[in-house]
């Protein structure tokens, strides 16, 4: 479960109130409406990465982005501007629960075929899920791994053992037996692990470079660091697929592109770049420059909300909740907004809760009411009450080199210094950062920056990965190393609740309960901005997740 630094988010019901403050997005939408996406053409995606991962077992890709071109999953997401994202049938229906939510049964659609012409069977989905347990194919989203009976010590099908809690009574039916009731299971089956892999295949480590496709495209050529070219999969049936437009004839990922160069190319909008979009966030400097360029500004697509950006306080080092509460008042969320994207409007709203905007059942509250710029006196007073009249010295503030984190950390460093909380910023390469914050057994950091977008639009995915004690170290994302048996118990109770309204209430209660301990300081609900070329149409970011829907984008004539 790595590379969670940039994840997905959840906005929805509350987004109505936000519409007024979102000029950039509205213009983008208007432009999209003017040019209609048509069948055909080549869509280009400019990517910073050296590879595109098409191995479903190793993927943490959203159901609406790159992996969705090649692989279908049991369930999928249907999202559109202004509408709440829904979990919808993809290969199968959205499942029926029995045994109080502990057993889930899915029925596959008729006539589904792989790119090699063979039928897609329930056994192939089972094989795909089993494959994710193999140590050689770890790294993808693993929400299902502990939930399936026997999953805790299963090591994948290549050692000869099968996972008996997944049953396939016939080619069209697949049944999952869970260790406990789990209301969000149909969302879990939309994660990459539930993409089919032909039974018996996928043993080679580079399966991701030549997978058997179930989606509208297959991989025609794969050159690491150069490009990946996707061409049509003749065996994909558009009639059975409601979440993929399949409009372009080809999709080409151009890899290893420098972010600032991508931005310059898309701003210039000439030649092939007119049919391209950038897959990474536009940086603050780029956003500021776009404000003076009417054409480029129109082609900027900004989400209405997004990941929760927060300051994680290592609760193993700073053990006194009162000291941690002082941080709630010491931070300056305004300067953090400006450091993130130049203006509050592009950066996103100030955050006070853990559950992100738009999640069903979310309640807006603020346990530590103050100005966005903070309340230095209150912070000092709390520190004095905690026996630290001189503040704190030499706190180790570790951040990753990527995503402008050092600049954001400096904004917080300056704000904390106002309240006599003095920090040293330690900048690490992304891999070293992940090793230190989510894998090390006894890390030394006091503070770090986190950013979390739920992997599916449920408060469960806001809270459990960040605050359950099972997520401390070992690849988990509990960066505060927050361990509270009471919270663990409440999380399990909320996860087991099959009624969404009742579950929503339990999650809100947890949101308040955790923030009272102050393991993190919520900063902003981050907006993401992406640039597209003038011929890319139907390129939108819906309320959830805060990423463009790749599967619906097409080329305008």
């Amino acid at each position: 479960m790595m590379s969670k630094q940039v994840r997905k988010l959840v906005p929805i019901a509350a987004a109505v109130a936000l519409l007024a403050g979102c000029g950039a997005n509205e213009q983008g939408a208007a432009q999209n409406a003017a040019a209609k996406a048509e069948q055909g053409g080549t869509l280009r995606i400019l990517s910073e990465g050296q590879t595109v991962n098409y191995d479903p077992a190793k993927s943490s890709s959203l159901p609406i982005t790159s992996l969705g071109y090649v692989h279908r999953r049991l369930t999928g997401w249907l999202n559109a501007e202004g509408e709440q994202v829904e979990v919808v049938p993809d290969l199968a229906d959205t499942g029926t629960a029995s045994d109080g939510g502990k057993t889930w049964t899915f029925t596959l659609k008729e006539g589904l075929k792989f790119s090699d012409g063979s039928p897609i069977r329930a056994q192939d989905v089972k094989w795909g899920v089993e494959r994710t347990y193999a140590p050689a194919f770890s790294g993808g989203l693993g929400y299902h791994k502990q939930l399936l009976v026997g999953g805790a010590d299963y090591r994948g099908p290549f050692e000869g053992k099968r996972l008996d809690s997944i049953q396939t009574p016939d080619d069209k039916t697949i049944v999952f037996h869970l260790t406990r009731p789990y209301g969000d299971w149909p969302w879990i089956t939309s994660t990459p692990a539930f993409a089919p892999v032909p039974e018996g295949k996928g043993a080679e480590p580079d399966y991701g470079e030549h997978p058997v496709a179930s989606g509208p495209y297959q991989i025609a050529s794969y050159q690491r660091g150069v490009q990946v070219r996707l061409t049509r999969n003749a065996n994909w049936d558009k009639g059975s697929d409601q979440i993929r437009g399949g409009l372009p004839d080809e999709v080409v990922f151009q890899l290893g592109q420098e972010a600032s160069v991508v931005s310059q190319r898309l701003v210039a909008d000439s030649g092939d770049d007119r049919t391209a979009f950038g897959s990474s966030f536009a940086s603050p400097a780029q956003l500021a420059q776009l404000q003076g360029n009417a054409s480029a500004k129109q082609r900027l697509v900004t989400s209405r909300t997004g990941a929760l950006a927060y300051l994680a306080i290592n609760t193993e080092k700073l053990t006194d909740p009162k000291v941690r509460q002082a941080f709630q008042y010491a931070v300056d969320k305004t300067s953090f907004q400006i450091a993130s994207a130049g203006s509050a409007q592009l950066a996103g709203d100030v955050a006070t809760t853990l559950i992100t905007q738009g999640i069903a059942g979310r309640e807006q509250f603020d346990l530590y009411p103050t100005q966005p710029a903070g309340d230095v006196d209150k912070a000092k007073q709390l520190l004095t009450e905690a026996g630290l009249p001189n503040g704190l010295d030499n706190l180790d503030f570790v951040v990753s080199k990527s995503n402008d984190a050092p600049a954001k950390a400096q904004a917080l460093q300056a704000a904390l210094a106002r309240a006599n909380i003095r920090t040293n910023i330690r900048v690490l390469d992304p891999d070293a950062y992940t090793a230190e914050t989510s894998q090390a057994a006894n890390p030394t950091y006091d503070l770090t920056l986190g950013s979390w977008q739920p992997d599916f639009p449920s408060a469960n995915a806001n809270i459990q990965p960040l605050f359950a004690s099972s997520e401390v170290g070992g690849g988990g994302y509990n960066l505060s190393r927050y361990r509270n048996p009471e919270v663990d118990r409440l999380i399990e109770a909320a996860q087991s609740e099959v009624d969404p309204v009742a579950a929503g209430k339990k999650w809100v209660e947890l949101d308040r309960r955790i923030l009272a301990d102050s393991p993190v300081v919520p900063l902003i609900y981050t907006r993401n901005s992406f640039l597209r070329g003038s011929k890319v149409a139907n390129f939108y970011i819906a309320d959830f997740p805060a990423y463009p829907n790749y599967l619906q984008a097409g080329i305008a004539k």
Partner: protein, 307 residues
């Protein structure tokens, strides 16, 4: 590089004074060094007069639309003499003068390290000869061809966080600077040791260390000063390069290289943000280079005086 520089008959101080009178470029370099050095020493005072500091965020000095500086020329005003940094509103004048302190401290300290190392190693090689000389010469050749920038970047990534970065930079940059100094000192010592006064001292039973201190060193100062001055701009530039690449001085301590690195992304909308730290770095390296050139002309009778 290795001009055999002869021993000056006059004292070094008087030679420098004469050179400055004669060589206008060297004088300009000396004045620039003095101004920048003064700014570095008095950075706190200067920023106090301006009423700013290089650490405080002043979001009110930014354009709320873009996060860039409010006002023309990057926000230059009576309050912010060089304008402000985009996205933070930190005062650019304060960053530049405090950055001068960083650059000078690291540049000079690293030069000191390489001078000490290079002189000792070079003198040992020249005086002892034999296998010591061969080892030193080979090592110096390897170091001169070593891809040290890559090595420093790698080192910056693996050294644990609690090691002081400025100290690490001084030691690393200084360490890689010794071969050029050692070569010159070695060449000088090779000619000196054949001179009668050195032979006399040796015959009278002086230890190598005594010979080095009392006989060789007084005659090595001139070439050492020249080569040291000429290596300062390189060291300042190296610190800036490492900070530019993100493995130099950690934030928030101001550093020209880091500010330039940030400013590159802003050059099309906020050119002044690149201009001020860029011109400061240019002036510092230019000044030490022309001043060092002048020194070499003055202290080395073999080089023709250019003007």
């Amino acid at each position: 590089m290795s001009h055999p520089i002869a021993i000056p008959a006059r004292s070094v101080g008087r030679a420098v004074a004469a050179m400055l009178r004669r060589d206008r470029w060297a004088l300009a370099g000396a004045v620039t060094i003095a101004v920048l050095g003064l700014a570095a020493v008095a950075a706190d005072l200067l920023t106090a007069i301006e009423g700013q500091d290089p650490y405080s965020y002043r979001t009110e000095a930014l354009d709320p639309r873009t996060g860039g500086p409010a006002g023309a020329l990057g926000g230059v005003s009576g309050e912010h003499w060089f304008g402000v940094e985009p996205l933070t509103g930190r005062d650019l004048f304060a960053i530049v003068v405090h950055g001068a302190r960083t650059s000078f401290l690291i540049g000079l300290a690293a030069t000191l390290v390489s001078v000490v190392l290079g002189t000792l190693v070079g003198a040992a090689a020249g005086y002892r000869g034999g296998w010591v000389d061969r080892v030193v010469t080979w090592t110096a050749d390897v170091f001169l061809g070593f891809p040290y920038l890559i090595f420093m970047i790698a080192l910056g990534a693996v050294v644990p966080g609690h090691v002081s970065r400025p100290l690490l930079l001084v030691l690393v940059i200084g360490f890689f600077g010794w071969p050029s100094i050692a070569r010159i000192v070695r060449a000088q010592v090779l000619t000196l040791k054949k001179r009668n006064f050195v032979s006399a001292a040796r015959i009278l039973g002086a230890s190598p260390w005594q010979v080095f201190r009392t006989e060789l060193l007084p005659n090595l100062w001139a070439p050492i000063i020249v080569v040291a001055t000429l290596s300062i701009p390189g060291n300042i530039g190296l610190e800036a390069a490492l900070s530019f690449l993100g493995v130099g001085i950690p934030p928030p301590t101001p550093s020209w290289g880091r500010t330039i690195s940030t400013a590159v992304d802003w050059v099309s909308t906020e050119p002044m943000f690149l201009f001020f730290p860029g011109i400061a770095l240019f002036l510092a390296t230019w000044a030490f280079t022309v001043f060092g050139d002048g020194l070499r002309d003055a202290l080395d009778p073999k080089t023709d005086v250019r003007r």
